[in-house]
Structure formats: C-alpha cells, structure tokens
Amino acid sequence: MYETLWPDVEKLLATVQKPARYIGGELGAVAPTHLPGNVAWLLIYPDTYEIGLPNQGLQILYEILNERHDALAERAYAPWVDMEAAMRDAGVPLFSLENHLPARSFDVLAFNLSAELVYTNVLNLIDLAGVPLHTLERTLEDPLVLAGGHCAFNPEPLAEFVDAFVLGDGEEVVAELTEVLARSKTESEEGGDRHDLLATLASLDGVYVPSLYRPVYDSSRLVRIEPLDPNAPETVEKRTISDLALWPYPRNQLIPLTEVVHDRLNVEVFRGCTRGCRFCQAGMVTRPVRERPFDQVGEMTRLGLDRSGYDEVALTSLSTADFSGIQDLVRDVVEDPRNDGQVSVSLPSLRVDAFTVETAAQIQRVKRTGLTFAPEGGTWRMRKVINKLITEEDLYKAVDAAFSQGWRRVKLYFLIGLPTERDEDVLGIAELGKRCVEIGRRYQRSVTVVASVGGFVPKAQTPFQWFGQDSVEELQRKVTLLRNAGSGVKGFNIRWHDPEATVVEGLVSRGDRRIGAVIERVWRAGGIFQEWSERFDLSKWQDALARESLSFEEVAYRDRDENEALPWDHISAGLHRDFLWSQWQDALAETSLEDCRWTPCYDCGACTGYGLEHVVASALPPAGGSQGTGQDLSSGQRVPVDLISRPSR
C-alpha cells in the first residue's frame, strides 16, 4: 500500500515559490479513502495550479467520479520548475493534492488537454509520475494514461504517449471507463492482459486507443490510418450528453485557498454554439446547442454563491448573451436581496452589439473599468470569410454604448493570419481601433482602446483545417504593419501574441503521429511550460523538427487539398467532411452562413448524425441588432423554423 508523501513534500515547500499550489485543502475538495476494489483516478491539468484549478471540465469529472461507489478521484497539476527540481532532487514523484499520494498509486492518470503548448508538460508529468513514457512500454502494473479535452480532436501528436483518448463530453463515458477498469482490476489478479484491456476500451463509444491503429505513409505523406484490431472502429465518434439538466455539475465548485485565474463562481449556461465562426474549434466540436434550464441556472447560482462566499458569478458558455432569457437571469442575480448588491455577474463572452452593453450595464453598476468585444476581423470582407458577421454599425453602437455609460476601457480581440487576408484587412484593425477612440472621446476625456491581436492557428474539425498557416515572418510583418498604422494615436494600444508560439501551436494542432517524436525531443531538451512566454523556446522546436526530417513548411504552412488524408480523419465530432469542405470553399468565396438556431438545418452532421436536437428554451431570437449573425433579427419575430423548446419541467 502507498503512504502519503506529505512529510516529504512539506520539507520542500519552504524552498519554493507559491507553496500553496501544493497543499490542496480547497473548499469542496474531498480526501477519498482508497479501497482495493475502487478505480482510483488522478485527474491532471498539465499546467500550474493557478491556471488548472478553475478548469470546470476537470471539476465536473472529479465530482461525478467521487460520487460513485466504485471510483474515487484526486487531482494533480504541473509543479512549477522550482518545485519539480526540488522533487526530482529529493526523489519525490508527482503526487495528488488530496492525500499527497504518489501518482503511481492510481489506476488512471487522466490528462485535460486544453491547449497544444502543454503537450511537453504532459510528457514531463508522465515521467515525473514514474510511469514509462510510451504506451508500448507500459504493462498492467502501470497506471492507464488517458486524455480528453478539445485538443483530443487531433490526438495523433500524443498517440505514442497516451493509452486512450476520450472524445467529447466526459460525463457519461467516465462511468463506462470505470466499469471496464474495475473488471480489469479483478481479472488482473488472475493474470489479465493489457492488450485485452485496451481492446475493450476501444469498443466504448467515444474512446480512441491509438495503439490499435497504424498510420500508413506514402513516401513522406500520410495516406490513411487503419485499425489493427476488430474492436477498433474505423471512425471514433465523440460523446455528447443530450440534456445538460441531468448534469448540474459542479455542485461543489472548488474554492481555492490561494490565488487562481477566474477566481469566481462559474455556472455553465449552455454547451455548444451554432454561430458557425469558421476558425473556432470549440464552436464546431461542441455542437449542438444544449441550454441548461433557466431555473436550474438560477438555483446553481444561488447555491454556489451561498456555499462559496464568492462575490462574482460568471455565466459561462461560448456566447452567453445568446442564452434564452439572459436578461431575466442577470436581473434575478443582480437584484436578489440576499446578494445585497455585492455580487457581480460576468459574461465572459460578450456579443458585439448595443443590446449586450445594456445587459453589461445592468451588471456592472459600480466598477466600470473595461469591456471586451471580439470582432476578430478588421474588415467586413474578412469577417464574412470567417463567418463572424459583425457589422461596423454593430461594433460602433456597442462601443458608443460602452463609453457613453461610463466604461473607460474597451478591449477588442482580433486575429491576423486568417485565410485570404490582405494587408488592408490588417490595417482595418487599426482603422476600427482609431474610430473607437474617437467615439470614446465624445463622452470622456481619456479613453483607452486596446486591440489584442492573436495569430490564427488552424484547428482540426473546422472549415479552416485545410488552410496553410502564415509563417513566423509573415505574421511578424503583419504585426509590424499594424503597429505602424496604429502608432501615434493617443489612447489606442496594440498588443500581440508571439508569432513564434503561434506557429508551434499550428504545428502541433495539425501534426500527425510523427510530431510525437518532435514533442519528445523538445521535452528532453528541457522545453516545458511552453505556453509561458518566458519559457517558450522556438529553437528547441526547430532543432527537433530538423532531427525528425520534418518542417513548419510541410506541417503548418501548407494548404491541404480536398483529397489529402488528414491525421484526424478517423476521429469525428459529428461534422460531415463535405460540410466542412463546403464551408472552406464558401469562406474563400466570401460567402457567409446563417446561425442555424434561426434558420432551417443545413445538416452539418452534429444533430442529424447523432439523433440530437438543439435544446433551447425560447423559439424567439432575443431582440436587438443583427447580433453578429448578419440576419435581420431586430424585430424579435418568430423565426421561420421550428425550434425544439424544452418542455417545462
């Protein structure tokens, strides 16, 4: 039996920064008892505690597993470099935060993959756990290494390191995985077989076991990925929970003892998005829209505030202003006498229109510091290409509303390096920004408009998965172009993401199985925490690529044609390949697509393929502007389509 490592960990904490990262003890955390028959999960977020703790996906699974009688779950995060050095020095392996048990004492190490740049951390943590790095080197004595999250929609770069990937919503499939593993634990006492276990896992819906598939290459290009086992399906389909109402999690959100990002109550109001922004992987892979019932959101908010003591609740989703009844919801929270005017509501994804600002005004009565909008593209042409249909009128009305109602700072999110982008589209960002400053000056003497500019990374399972990403040099040229155009305007600031990190993200997001060796080399060269700008090192990636005879040109910068095999062709988020291709062609032709919540189904595959429906409470689009759909929804009239209304519960 394993014993707690706490006495050893405690000795190290006097010497490291932010020791509270390693103590656990959050409100809502449990310290489960490890019983021999139970399947013990270690849920790992491969970044620091303060980034990983708020992750809602991990917290949902943590609760669901700990409610089961045959499972238990603890958590681990990536120790910062000082702690890792101290741990390796003292021979302390990766440990859980609840009981401070060694990672090897768990049956499952389950990684959350939210971003590509954490992949080297995943390798580092497997190693720090004392588990063989590659799936082929592991035995039944080793924990099973699982991974899920949006990045799993192109699992190939981590195929050699992860035993099984879980695609889509995890709420139901963790139960099925637990049952398989519980049986396997019993059988392994009588001498089980690891291959049998992996084959059984592969037969579960939504589970991809990469070692049961073989990539086939023709000279230097991938031709196909073929299953090697009768249990391994040709295509692995994602899991989708059809009714969010059945999953009111997290009920006991973890309230940390120390500072973390997004330190507030989070209530998920819906999952999925139908706006159809072509660059957005989250919007594509989480379809269809599934709203949480209005009353349940209210209840989760009330209970969550009561038990946490938070003074802020975030209503989370990919576009919260689209939630049916959002105005009533916000009013209910803000005006709840129990909250005594001390609770603020945040909508992490503001839609760009004056209507949304009205809602924001209702929320932020006191601290009107900054509002953020995401037009993404600098010109109307560009926004049609990416299908983010915000008119200039929408934006200016929103900005006008914000400044006239007392906000002092407006932040605008943009992407550069988008398909078909011309210099005028990049310069359009500066034009929009300057115009917003002018609008602000009508109301206030000193205003700030910040344009936050990210480099576009094409992602799997999106219409832009065929697009050749801009090179580092091209992105840098565009940044310089934009900075020159925006300089000298008082109150207008431009911030940009490092193009070098952007292209590495692109390398990993669309790489095939061969990128695994590159990731391993970068890790062996000490390249961890690559998502932290002070630790990111392009030269490590360049060296590794050269040694593996691969290049940015081949993997990231190259357009794919319709017939080329993609590394994730055997992975499905429900979206038909021909739908994505037609969207790609429409993008090139600057043709937009309407939001299917308000128009007849165009059969992207997400609903029809899985026999699902959008679940929304209101068949009426909320009033106000085009709401970024390019449609005339201003009348608030019934839309020409039958929407499935949630039956009243």
């Binding site: 932010k18 020791p19 509270a20 310290a31 309230i255 500072e259 038990r307 003591g309 005594d340």
Partner: protein, 300 residues
C-alpha cells in the same frame, strides 16, 4: 420577484457615518494552511464572512472593498496561535443577528461541525454575536480557527499601530542543543548582528540585534514540544515590530548560515503601553488555546 430599489444596493452606508462597530477576532493558522500567503488569508476571510452572513461594511469610492484590517503579515510558511483581524460591521450587533437569522434559518451555529470555542472565549456581548462567532470556524479552512472575539472599545487603535512585539517559537534543524545554546549566547552578547535581507525586492544589510528583545533556547513545553521523533531544543523569541518586523528566517540567519529553520509559530502579539504588556484582545476574552485545536489538521 418584487422590484427592488436599485439605489439602495449601490450606495452602501459609509462605515464612518454610522460609527459602525469594529469586531476584533483572534485566530490560529496551523498545519498545511500555513503555506498560504497573507493576501490569501485576507481573501479566505472575506469569503468566510460572506458565507457566515456577517455583514461587513464596505468602503465607498470607485473600487469598493470590504473593510477588514489585518495586523502584521505572517510570513508564508509560518504558523500562528495569535493572528488578528479587525472587521468593520455594517450593522450594530443586534441588527446583525436579525440578518443572520433570516439568512440561516435555524441559526448559524447549527451548521457548525467544528470545535466550539465556548462562551468563555468570547467577550460578553449581545447574544446574537456570540451565537454567530461560535459557528464562524466552520466557514474557515482546516487550521484556521477563531479563538476569541470582542467588539473594540471606541478609540482602540489599529493592529498595525498598536502591536509592538511578537513572541515566536521556532524549531531548528542541523544543530545540537549545545551548539544552539552557544549561538544564542553569542547573539545576545553581541551589540550588533548584521544580516542580508530582502524587503520589497531590495536586498538590505541590516542590524537585527535591536529587534531581538528576548531569546531563549529550551527543551521545555511549547507548541512544538514532542512534535518530532527526538526531543530537540527550540527557540523562544520575542521580537520588536519597529522600525520593521523581524522574520524568523532572518533571525536564524543571524544565528548562523548553517542552521535550517524547520518550523516557526507566532504564539503571541503584544501591545506595550508604558511598560505594561497586553495582547490585542483583553486577557479576559482570551483563553488558553486548547491543544485539540492545533492538532485537528494532523488528526484528519
């Protein structure tokens, strides 16, 4: 839901205007939670008070915040049996009790599953306040427990202004009892003891000797007596808080670079008034800390 007048919510009653009562609380910080920072503890208190239903007065202005005032920061990693926070209440204790009652039907004490500090730890005061404080530890993390509380008399100074010295107990590694006693004698015998220390990111070379008011090496009773496998000598120190505080690590440096501090606990904070030493909460309201309190974290 009925309409609520919005002006009532945004314009809180300024604390000064109603001479809102100030509640002084004494609490511990023991075990794993000692690795949280001073700022973390402030945040923990804000949330705990909100959860308990105790209505804290807020500052007015552009960025309103709850009016909590902590004393001298406890260095991250150190334990304490004597931390203090002053809480400005939004209401008089009587009003406060009414508010709690409606927020927690059945009484706040009913939700407590934790150590009950008992009536003798809390100064005589309105019944409602006593009820409420009894349950407060339940809203705080393991290792932080309310030990005593009292409403401050008019004219009571702030903790920052008033506290003049602190008592510490420290456990040291890599040294024998005899060696430690010798180092102590040497430090006490010196007129100046210079150490390099950091303040706000700047390295300074300071004489710490004036801040060491009392220093004793002993194997006698204390917080850490019997806490390790072999009984070892511990340091009992009283340090001055002015002109600036002395951190345990800095004192250990002053005793010798080869010593390793394994644990430190602030046992008391003192206010010296014309040569008479007292604690920020009157002795009457402070009872000896029951041993059970400090072992809670270890037991679980």
């Amino acid at each position: 839901m009925s309409e609520v007048d919005s002006s009532k919510r945004t314009e809180r009653r300024p604390a000064e205007a109603i001479r809102s009562p100030r509640l002084r609380l004494r609490y511990s910080k023991l075990g794993k939670v000692r690795f949280t920072s001073h700022r973390d503890v402030a945040r923990i208190w804000e949330r705990a008070l909100r959860r308990s239903g105790i209505r804290v007065a807020w500052s007015s202005g552009f960025s309103p915040h709850p009016l909590l005032a902590f004393g001298l920061a406890l260095p991250t990693g150190c334990e304490s049996l004597g931390e203090y926070v002053d809480v400005r209440l939004e209401r008089t204790p009587e009003e406060l009790f009414d508010g709690i009652d409606s927020a927690h039907p059945g009484g706040i004490a009913g939700r407590s599953s934790r150590v009950d500090p008992g009536d003798d730890l809390i100064s005589p005061g309105p019944q409602g306040l006593r009820e409420l404080l009894r349950g407060l530890s339940a809203f705080l993390p393991d290792g932080i427990d309310v030990q005593a509380a009292a409403l401050c008399a008019d004219g009571t100074g702030s903790l920052q202004e008033e506290v003049t010295s602190c008592s510490w107990e420290m456990e040291v590694r890599e040294v024998s009892e005899e060696q430690l006693a010798e180092r102590v004698d040497r430090l006490l015998g010196a007129s100046r003891v210079f150490v390099t220390r950091e303040r706000k990111g700047i390295e300074r070379f300071d004489d710490i000797r004036p801040q060491v008011l009392d220093l004793l090496c002993s194997t006698g009773p204390g917080v850490y007596a019997g806490s390790s496998s072999s009984p070892r000598a511990r340091l009992f120190v009283e340090t001055a808080t002015r002109p600036r505080g002395l951190r345990p690590m800095e004192l250990i440096k002053g005793l010798g670079d080869d010593l390793v501090l394994s644990r430190a606990c602030r046992t008391n904070q003192w206010i010296d008034r014309l040569g008479t030493r007292s604690e920020p909460l009157d002795a009457a309201s402070v009872a000896p800390v029951p041993l059970a309190t400090r072992t809670k974290e270890c037991v679980s």
